[in-house]
């Protein structure tokens, strides 16, 4: 076996292992989410202080909030990451509803798009943190994230009210 053939064999093996690892990881992740029970989804929610989030979300519409105050209310980057994780759970909960009533697709899609937007804001915030510019960036983005999260929560509750699912009371209690 010459050098080029050997190199090709190594690269091909790495490529196939990567392909199978990536495919396997996401395939089984998707299966797990699809089969998750309601209680398992709820157990993934991270407890947040909704009152503080509402303060940020309500005040963001016009007034200039002090970045330090926003940072404190949301709990810094860790708080935003918790919001992000909860957004994933909210989407999974919406999908749970969608499995029973496909007509809920429209609302679930809007929730998904909102969650993706939060991830985009988080990415910008993390970039600002790396550049040492978190203070000013936080006021710009964190308020929007909190506001979107609040809207998502309202949408989800409304969705469950519309579809009369028995889990509504449990959902209201947690989020």
């Amino acid at each position: 076996m010459d050098t080029r053939t050997f190199d090709f064999a190594i690269v091909l093996a790495c490529f196939l292992v990567s392909l199978l690892a990536i495919g396997g990881y996401y395939y089984f992740h998707a299966r797990k989410v699809a089969k998750d029970e309601w209680s398992n989804l709820l157990s993934r929610l991270i407890l947040l202080d909704r009152n503080k989030i509402e303060i940020v979300a309500l005040e963001q519409s016009g007034t200039d909030l002090d970045p330090a105050r926003v940072l404190e209310l949301i709990g810094g980057l860790d708080g935003l990451k918790a919001l992000n994780a909860n957004c994933d759970v909210l989407i999974d909960l919406a999908c749970h509803c969608q499995r029973w009533y496909p007509e809920a697709l429209l609302v679930a899609e809007q929730l998904r798009i909102n969650a993706r937007e939060i991830k985009w804001h988080l990415t910008r915030l993390e970039g600002a943190a790396r550049m040492g510019n978190l203070g000013s960036a936080f006021a710009d983005y964190a308020q929007r994230v909190a506001a979107i999260y609040q809207l998502m929560t309202q949408h989800l509750l409304a969705l469950y009210e519309q579809t009369n699912l028995p889990e509504l009371a449990e959902l209201q209690r947690v989020i």
């Binding site: 080029r4 053939t5 190199d7 090709f8 690269v11 091909l12 490529f15 196939l16 392909l19 199978l20 990536i22 495919g23 990881y25 996401y26 395939y27 992740h29 998707a30 989410v33 699809a34 963001q60 994933d88 989407i91 999908c95 969608q98 499995r99 029973w100 009533y101 496909p102 007509e103 809920a104 697709l105 429209l106 609302v107 899609e109 809007q110 998904r112 798009i113 909102n114 969650a115 993706r116 937007e117 929007r144 506001a147 979107i148 809207l151 949408h155 409304a158 969705l159 519309q162 579809t163 009369n164």
Partner: protein
């Protein structure tokens, strides 16, 4: 030219499998949802018959030209099937979601780049430019298809978009077959292309056998119905419509904050 025993058996089973799958697609009313996939299977029925008669009645050159012309058509249709599956997954509301469109284009660009690099690295043991093109082309298409299917699975999970039952089954079959084909085509690259050489023929038989397993999987999975959704009462449908109006207004507010 005449078929040998194993070749004739694989040809007959392949034709039968494609015909049964086509019947399943038509009689179970999947064809309307998967028009490109149905076209691919119908084309394969015609292709199998055309190649049989070309092999028996035509010259070696005529068979070569027919085989690779139809192989190019097959790859083009497989890429169209990828697009059809992507449309089912990434266009939940009938149009491309604005957050996935760019990512999907990156997936296509990245897959083509990686497949090209791998193909460039291969050094086929071929005698002529024609053989090099055939072997490299087969390897490139196998690598590209497998990347696209794995990438679609990963991207759909990242984007939070679910796969419907039959879309997932068609994609799993084609994706798994493409991954096996990478190994087969890599093996072809380093075996002598002359028909009759055991390694080359053995690899071709393995590929055909894997494809037959894939066809059987599709027949079974497409025969079965997807889990039946529940119907929404009219009152609930009206309420959901109102809810959507509210969501649209919320999104308008969110967009205004960006300004």
């Amino acid at each position: 030219m005449q078929f040998a025993g194993v070749d004739l058996l694989l040809w007959a089973i392949g034709l039968l499998g494609h015909v049964v799958l086509l019947l399943v697609l038509c009689f179970r009313r999947r064809a309307a949802h998967f028009q490109v996939f149905t076209t691919l299977i119908a084309t394969n029925v015609i292709r199998t018959i055309a190649l049989y008669f070309t092999f028996r009645l035509g010259t070696r050159h005529a068979y070569f030209v027919t085989y690779w012309s139809l192989a190019i058509l097959d790859v083009a249709l497989q890429l169209a099937v990828v697009y059809e599956m992507a449309s089912h997954v990434f266009r939940p509301l009938g149009t491309w979601s604005r957050d996935v469109h760019r990512g999907f284009l990156w997936l296509i660009g990245g897959s083509i780049t990686v497949a090209s690099l791998l193909t460039w690295m291969a050094a086929p043991a071929a005698h002529s430019l024609k053989e090099v093109v055939v072997i490299r082309g087969s390897f490139f298409s196998a690598a590209l298809m497998s990347e696209l299917f794995v990438g679609m699975v990963a991207f759909s999970v990242i984007a939070g978009l679910p796969w419907k039952t039959h879309v997932a089954r068609i994609s799993q079959g084609l994706g798994a077959y493409s991954i096996v084909c990478i190994l087969i085509e890599a093996g072809h690259s380093y075996s002598i292309i002359t028909p009759g050489i055991p390694t080359y023929v053995l690899l071709s038989h393995i590929r055909m056998a894997v494809y037959l397993v894939c066809i059987t999987y599709w027949i079974v999975m497409l025969w079965r119905n997807a889990p039946r959704p529940k119907d929404l009462p009219d009152e609930m449908r009206r309420q959901l419509s109102l809810l959507q109006s509210r969501v649209a207004y919320d999104l308008y507010r969110i967009r205004s904050w960006r300004g």
